[in-house]
């Protein structure tokens, strides 16, 4: 079975839409953004999604005919709904189809749980409704209910969390479920809201930059956290042909392979063992030689440690012929559990437009130099990588259709 991607959606600092995010990465003015909706004392740039929870609730009703019952929703749940509602705008009809949903997140409903905890411990009492969506399943179940309301038969749904590689892992699970024959479509997604918990956590690790982050730059000094929700719809080629000859496909997904670094809870090993194994396994599974890769979408968080070991991994795999590569996180920020699917969607869009996305603010060479301007060039195979806390490394290879 060949697995094809037939729709994608990104909700990011650029708002809604893969195209909008793509265009902004390619050429928008780079600003150092402060959050409008998250209240935090930590003074760092954050790449926040430009809608309040109330605005998202209203947009779902007005623009997507999704009328949610009135209750407390986590930002995680609202963003999950927004990306899937947007996905269905361009996807094949799910009505009467067997659908698998694999969601991914690191924070779950922490944006409301932290308010609960504050109210409980500081004020002495808190509304229980604030923690009803604490567990990631709340957002996933809401999405499943929405798909069912559109006529889909949701045959299986789950939520996974492998830190910053979470939604890449979700893509792999979706592929496995399609290959098992249990489902017609797999919706693989990732979501992470900005919240005090995450911002303070990363701040305590001392890896947040005070400026726009600079992936792979010799003077990089940490990452920018971003907010994101992204989703893709995958299906087997035979099923797609059986539905219609006119279903547009964005790319073929050849492989999604994971390996554990087994080195440290937050740092990647100097030899980049996990990332190298994942990339090697992805190439082997895809049946593609390293030399055939047209472009690598790097994890490229802009922390000294990540970019150093990721460069090592790329050299381990590609030797002296490292293909053009870049990290798009200078624009989107690091969207954590959403980043895998978000960057998969950007990579698929690169194949469609035959245009590479750059790391535009790269200045000072260290080891490997990323692409710095958007270039129109023939692209056949793209590798996109995600690495996370806990040592999980996932590498995905997609092909032009």
């Amino acid at each position: 079975m060949r697995i094809l991607c037939c729709a994608s959606s990104i909700v990011s600092v650029s708002g809604i839409g893969v195209g909008k995010c793509f265009d902004d990465v390619a050429g928008a003015d780079i600003e150092c953004l402060k959050p409008r909706f998250l209240s935090t004392a930590v003074d760092v740039p954050l790449r926040e999604i430009p809608f309040s929870n109330e605005e998202i609730f209203k947009m779902l009703a007005d623009n997507y005919s999704v009328v949610l019952p009135s209750r407390v929703y986590t930002r995680t749940a609202l963003l999950s709904m927004l990306t899937v509602a947007d996905l269905l705008k361009s996807s094949p009809d799910v009505s009467g189809k067997r659908v698998v949903v694999v969601n991914a997140t690191t924070a779950g409903g922490m944006d409301k749980s932290e308010v609960y905890y504050h109210n409980l411990t500081v004020d002495g009492s808190a509304d229980l409704a604030l923690v009803a969506g604490h567990e990631p399943a709340d957002a996933t179940n809401l999405v499943c209910g929405f798909l069912q309301s559109r006529g889909a038969e949701v045959v299986w749904s789950t939520t996974v969390s492998t830190a910053c590689s979470s939604s890449s892992v979700a893509i792999g699970i979706g592929m496995d479920m399609l290959r098992s024959g249990d489902a017609d479509y797999a919706i693989c997604m990732g979501v992470d809201p900005l919240c005090k918990f995450t911002v303070n956590g990363f701040n305590s690790l001392g890896i947040l930059s005070k400026n726009v982050c600079r992936p792979f730059d010799a003077e990089r000094d940490g990452l920018n956290l971003g907010e994101g929700a992204a989703s893709v719809m995958l299906a087997g080629d035979e099923f797609i042909s059986s539905v219609s000859d006119n279903i547009p496909t964005l790319c073929e997904v050849l492989s999604c392979e994971t390996a554990a670094d087994a080195y440290h809870q937050t740092a990647t090993s100097p030899d980049a063992v996990g990332p190298t194994l994942a990339m090697k396994a992805a190439l082997r599974k895809a049946g593609v030689d390293a030399g055939q890769i047209s472009y690598v979408n790097a994890h490229g968080t802009a922390t000294p440690n990540n970019d150093e070991s990721e460069s090592t991994a790329m050299i381990n795999i590609f030797g002296e012929n490292v293909p053009p590569f870049s990290s798009t996180k200078f624009w989107t920020g690091h969207t954590l559990g959403a980043s895998g699917v978000l960057e998969f969607a950007l990579s698929a869009e690169m194949l469609c437009r035959q245009t590479l996305l750059p790391t535009r603010n790269f200045k000072n060479e260290e080891r490997l130099t990323p692409v710095t301007t958007a270039v129109k060039t023939p692209l056949e195979y793209i590798m996109t990588n995600s690495f996370g806390f806990g040592g999980g490394a996932t590498s995905i290879i997609i092909k032009k259709v």
């Binding site: 969390s161 496995d176 918990f197 303070n200 554990a260 806990g390």
Partner: protein, 282 residues
Amino acid sequence: MSCYIKKVATVSPIGDLGENVNLNSFAASACVADEPDYKTVITNANLRRRMNRMLKMGTYAALKCMGDDSVSLLLTATSLGSISDTEKMLDTIYTSDETLGNPTAFIQSTFNTLAGNIAQIKSIHIPNITFVNRGNTVANALKYAQVKLADDIESILFVSSDEKTELSESVLSQFDLSADGKYGEGASAMILSSEKTESLAEIVYSQCGVDLQTALTEMELSTDDVEILDSKRWCGEYGTSQAFGVALAAKMMEFGMFDGKSHVAIEHRYGPDKSVVILKKS
């Protein structure tokens, strides 16, 4: 789709099911895990010192179950993750008005820390996935195990873990998630294999969103064939309590404790989530 349970190990209110457990010995009121001497199994003192109870219980059960076996996939499952460190992190944020950090609590609170610790301790580079889907987590992970064993994976280490804290117990009880108001905790590990040899039981069904009757109908089984195991009186209620039920059922099958029944069903109802796992004598 063959998925056999080869071995189990648990940290639970009635101890380690991998050892000989006397089910009559348990005073069914506490629902607090009977924690072992961790340092005999988790020998890395640096890692052990930083671990909260969710991590210690899960790591212990996993290492105990795995022994010297090699596996090709690690699946972990949790409902609330490292909830004690999550609370610690939140406490630091609010008591310091976001001026102090608590990097250890933050790192330990990440859902997949258990998987990362196991990989690090065993120096294994196999893929790991952490399932975090509340009451459906265990049935999700076991279904995925079935799919992977039917494909190209030979053996899997599965481990679930959840700890309870004063706050988590208070919140769960306000949501009225337990039929008898007893909230428990624990970790359950299993080696799953596509090979039947020397197995305790076979997982023949693992589905979410179904009740018991639907599951039995789908499997063409009647209640004459199936023992319905109420395992929660031994482990208490928590998001991943179903894994304890599966491990217990497998051990009870090994000891021939279900007279005349070919199958055992473990149903899990947890708030809006419901799932059923069915084991068959192997």
